[in-house]
């Protein structure tokens, strides 16, 4: 089972991102689950959402304390919330920022295997394609590029299924920008 924890701020669509993650995995034939950490929802407040992917029925409903992947949709959370708490020593961390991982989270880079801490300017891609700070699609696309657990096409299709028409297509475009960016970065060994 692959367990993913998403951190964002209210209004950025972290809960939707988790749902789309589960839908992408479903579209590829996996069993998947997504759920938010429930609380009073306020714009800008830290939000946590969870997702699980497995090849058999996901039965557990406990919150994820030891994730295999942490997605940080808003880098300002790094100083506010212990977003990497419980992260597997073999796990992945993807942070929404244009800066290099070594500059943003040098300690984490030392702990995790090489290439497991990644940064991607997801907000830039979201604004470019959608004119909105909804970094979910580019974040999921970066997860797809980094780990291969999902295909880019599934990520795109999940958003297009949920938001048929312009919004879905714009999310798909933002996802492609992010996917290609990260693949390029990885090729260059950055």
């Amino acid at each position: 089972m692959l367990q993913i924890r998403l951190h964002g701020r209210g209004g950025q669509g972290a809960v939707t991102t988790a749902e789309m993650l589960s839908l992408s995995a479903f579209l590829e034939g996996h069993f998947a689950q997504a759920f938010p950490s429930f609380g009073s929802e306020r714009t800008g407040a830290p939000v946590v959402a969870y997702a699980r992917i497995d090849d058999q029925e996901v039965r557990t409903h406990e919150p994820i304390q030891e994730p295999d992947v942490v997605l940080v949709q808003d880098r300002t959370l790094l100083s506010v919330v212990d977003v990497f708490s419980g992260l597997s020593p073999k796990g992945y961390a993807i942070i929404n920022t244009a800066e290099a991982p070594e500059q943003v989270v040098p300690e984490l880079c030392k702990k995790l295997p090489k290439g497991h801490v990644l940064t991607v300017p997801a907000t830039d891609f979201a604004i470019k394609a959608m004119k909105m700070n909804k970094p979910g699609a580019p974040m999921l696309a970066s997860l797809a590029a980094a780990t291969g657990v999902l295909k880019l096409e599934s990520v795109q299709k999940s958003f297009q299924t949920r938001y048929p028409g312009k919004v879905g297509d714009a999310n798909a475009e933002a996802a492609a920008l992010s996917y290609n960016y990260l693949k390029e970065q990885m090729k260059e060994g950055k």
Binding site: L23, F26, L27, A32, F38, V58, R59, T60, H61
Partner: protein
């Protein structure tokens, strides 16, 4: 059969729509809101035909309208949670007293005060004696299927049914759900034909006053319907499982119970979490099984006695309790096991949304096997630091690290 990756609430809404209710009425309250929101969309969009959707002004109105429409001969659905359920209470007892087969989702949530929006079972269990059937769901697939079965059970027995699904944990979780086809549901659940209903064409009176000369007899007959419901739940479940191939519903469900030294009795979404932990514990040689209690009312005493068998140790993981009393499930289990040497205990956990982890289940099993549950009831998942921050300065009382037994609680007031 169609398979979809959707929110539990949407799955339930789709299941209810497949049952073609004539009236859906509701007042929004978290965590139930998404269910009725979706049903509202189905009615407005034309997907759910011949159905009146009524957005009423309160929960009291929601149950009142439900009583009216059900008494008028229409298949009726509503949903609520927590404080909303309490606001309905007067009508709830009337609905069962009148024998109206209303189906209502309770998206279980703690009752305030203090206000708390998270999941436990204090709302649904507060209506234990309301005369409604109460069916608990362990997963969203179970919830989806149980709603479809609930209409048939309610209409066969002539009593209303609460389908209790854990708020947020299930209602807001996106999971893979299999929906039966309309043809399958139609074959299973025929169009509702009320035996008696209110119509201006043939005026009758429902719910007139009953005095001491017959009130006991009315109650006896209500209780008789509950006895019948035990059999109806079993037969309806069997029929539904045959049609769909889904392993949902039932009075209870056993997981790895053969050869178990200890059995946990759990209601709701904790069952799934516990199943994963049981698999891990069995790998470590600990023989533990789970009884997922699906029907709380009627309580399946005989089926439970059989499910417990000759196991000597049973722990009820309870997400609600009775103030000034103890656990709510435990005394029922003790009744089921009367005359045997089976020890039955209560572990209180998961109140007001405190997450029950696999490790919580592991801790409960190990504590029970180590003989640490001396009292009938133990506050298993309790944070003594929080307690002491209140009692230390005020009363000079400090509690040791949890779990805390009932005797420790009592000793602290001496």
């Amino acid at each position: 059969m169609s398979t979809e990756q959707i929110e539990g609430s949407l799955g339930v809404a789709k299941a209810v729509a497949l049952c073609h209710p004539g009236v859906v009425c509701a007042y929004p309250i978290s965590p139930q809101t998404h269910i009725v929101e979706n049903l509202g969309k189905f009615v407005k969009g034309g997907a759910l035909k011949n159905c009146d959707y009524l957005n009423v002004e309160s929960e009291f109105a929601a149950i009142s309208v439900s009583i009216g429409s059900s008494a008028g001969g229409l298949r009726t659905y509503t949903a609520t949670a927590s404080q909303g359920l309490l606001f309905m209470t007067e009508g709830i007892y009337n609905a069962s007293g009148l024998g109206l087969p209303i189906v209502m989702t309770v998206a279980s949530r703690a009752i305030g005060g203090p206000i708390n929006i998270w999941n436990d079972h204090s709302d649904s269990l507060s209506q234990r004696d309301s005369g409604w059937l109460q069916l608990f769901c362990e997963s969203n697939q179970d919830a989806l299927d149980t709603h479809i079965m609930a209409f048939k059970i309610a209409e066969t027995v002539g009593l209303p049914v609460m389908v209790c699904m854990d708020g947020f944990v299930l209602t807001h979780a996106f999971e893979r759900l299999e929906l039966p086809t309309q043809e399958q549901v139609d074959a299973f659940l025929p169009e509702y034909e009320p035996r008696e209903y209110l119509t201006p064409k043939d005026p009758v009176s429902l719910g007139s006053m009953v005095g001491p000369e017959a009130f006991t007899e009315v109650r006896f007959l209500q209780q008789r319907k509950m006895a019948k419901a035990v059999h109806v739940i079993e037969s309806v479940t069997e029929e539904y499982r045959k049609i769909t191939g889904h392993h949902s519903g039932g009075l209870l469900d056993c997981y790895k119970c053969d050869d178990a030294d200890i059995k946990l009795i759990i209601m709701g979404s904790t069952v799934g979490t516990a199943k994963d932990e049981v698999d891990r514990m069995r790998k470590a040689g600990i023989k533990v099984g789970i009884i997922s209690l699906k029907a709380f009312r009627p309580f399946p005493y005989e089926a439970l006695r059989k499910a417990i068998g000759d196991t000597k140790l049973v722990v009820c993981v309870e997400r609600a309790f009775s103030f000034g009393g103890r656990g709510i499930i435990c005394p029922e289990v003790k009744r089921a096991m009367e005359g045997t040497s089976c020890e039955v205990k209560t572990a209180i956990a998961g109140l007001g949304g405190r997450a029950i982890f696999g490790t919580t289940i592991n801790g409960i099993v190990k504590a029970a096997l180590d003989g640490k549950f001396k009292d009938e009831m133990t506050w298993f998942d309790i944070d003594s630091r929080v307690l002491n921050s209140y009692t230390k300065d005020g009363e000079g009382v400090t509690f040791p690290e949890g779990p805390l037994s009932d005797s420790q609680l009592k000793a602290s007031v001496n």
